[in-house]
Symmetry: C2
Subunit: 375 residues, 2 copies
Amino acid sequence: MVGPNYDSRRGRLQKKLREAGIDGLLVTGQANVRYLTGFTGDSSWLLMLSGHPPVLLSDTRYETQLADECPGLAVEIRDAGGTLPRLFAKLARVAKVRRVGFEADHVTVSLLRQLENSLASGGPEAAVLTDTAGLVERLREVKDKFELAEIREAIRIAERGFAVVRSSLRGSQTETEIRYLLESAMRDFGGSGTAFEPIVGVGPTAALPHAHAGERRVSEHSVLLVDWGAAVKSGYRSDLTRVLITGKPTKQIEKVYGVVLGAQRAAISAIRPGVRCADVDRIARGMIADSGFGKFFGHGLGHGFGLEIHESVRMSPLSEQVFEAGMVVTVEPGVYLPGKFGVRIEDDLLVTAGGCEVLSSVPREFEDSLSGVLA
Amino acid sequence: MVGPNYDSRRGRLQKKLREAGIDGLLVTGQANVRYLTGFTGDSSWLLMLSGHPPVLLSDTRYETQLADECPGLAVEIRDAGGTLPRLFAKLARVAKVRRVGFEADHVTVSLLRQLENSLASGGPEAAVLTDTAGLVERLREVKDKFELAEIREAIRIAERGFAVVRSSLRGSQTETEIRYLLESAMRDFGGSGTAFEPIVGVGPTAALPHAHAGERRVSEHSVLLVDWGAAVKSGYRSDLTRVLITGKPTKQIEKVYGVVLGAQRAAISAIRPGVRCADVDRIARGMIADSGFGKFFGHGLGHGFGLEIHESVRMSPLSEQVFEAGMVVTVEPGVYLPGKFGVRIEDDLLVTAGGCEVLSSVPREFEDSLSGVLA
């Protein structure tokens, strides 16, 4: 397996900077730094200045790790008494650049004040900072070969973990016990961790889209919702949701399940390059509304993922993005009946030249969800 | 056990806002929102406006959870097509306030632009946003009775977990295996999770202050470093580090251990109300430098913790803070010899009227660290 080509990624970013008419970019978003360099630590920035080699700004804690993870990349370590903003200002001054972009989504107002103060102390010739948004995130939307292989592996591990949970399901298990079993199974299959804290919800807990696993037992309700994913060592993730019917299914449960699955199917078959994300969201949302459950679907239809569990693009009524081949996204409609139960079905997709490929393969027909009445 | 008194916490904040001459505060830092309301979700803000009851701004995903966790607190849910900044602007307009603070450490530049645009669309009478920093964090520095009890419990769970690791240590274990054993033991003793991803480092890995557990085996080196903590359900944490000597101790290992422990002891005995954090840092740092290891101690001496693992106050050469009774902090000097090994000894302390109380009780003499030559 060939590893990521960081030079090529940075080359594409340089091109974007030239197009934007800026002399450089201070990359402070942690996942963006990792994407462009391979560095897995935190508190470190990548400075890209036109006409100069890229340089990582960090501190002594990370010297050894940087040498290991980013061979060949220039590194500047701040003094024990110094700060990263001051180190940045020094490098910008030496490089004599004029307009340097910063990542407005990853810089707090406090940090911007510090950066500006550090630059200002360099005198009237100092560089000026300018807002940018999403420059690196946009590059990350389309996954390369390496990333796709890692995401496929993260899906495979998640699916094997779920199969263990499913095959060992008992009425006496609590949500938390299932969560821990799932986490440990994914580790056994080679995961380096979970993609996020798994959501395991029985009945009314499943009606809370962001519930934590608690002490409800499987036998307390017929609906069990599991939203989970694995992470692999390179940082890539997977993100899936399934509902298991662990007791006697009521007509209402079957109806809601059918509505959600129908909406997911319609959305998936609409995804292809050139289609607007908002339009796909509208298809699923419209179908759920037509079935009378419109007000019980309050979140977006799906999102990109990769190094982070939520990445650009977003599928929501407000999204202005358009699908491109190579994007990897979730599609996850849901219906949540407060105090009763919730159903969400979530799969992972790759947008292809002709449409899309569903990367995840856990069966999702209503019949597949039936786990029998558990003792 | 009496729970937290959120009214009293918000009352103290209101007083600070009056002193600062502002009409309110938009609290966007997640741990700050939790501290002031008990809400454990994310993507939700607390708006405090003088002369108006506090109100939580959120979305439909959290309606049920908010009713459970924050009984009696006013909640405003944004429309599916709306945004929190627009909801904030509407509430500020209705309340006719003039100057509203925002948390500059928890608001990105992008979010500030959105907040300003939303306010501006309300016309010339609209409120003005003003930077604040650390208002809630400063309240959180001094722990109340409830918080102290929770932190003591988080320490107790961490210590029981470490005892399991220690008693079952084998030369064939990998760092990752020890990490998972520690995590699962802490759960068994009632922890709701880890305070952070435990650091488990053998030999050269222990020389990286922020290493992840990997595949090195205990038998590969005489030094094993474990930096770990538990979290309890209420969100409070603990944070400890111990080094175990798992093989034949060399003179150098013993010397470094003694230097670090001596520095920690001296720092602990200097802590009392009124003393500057930087002065305590200087005592430990000076002792390590005098022993010839100055350049191998590159991080701060310690930090506050509670709902988050790193909170105000900080002990570093640059700190301008002063100890007060009721603060809870770590003291964790370290010496890291690249490619060889590292020693860090970390305990949790409560600043008391007369000095400080060491809350953690894992033995830390050099003799206590000796685990015998492991098979």
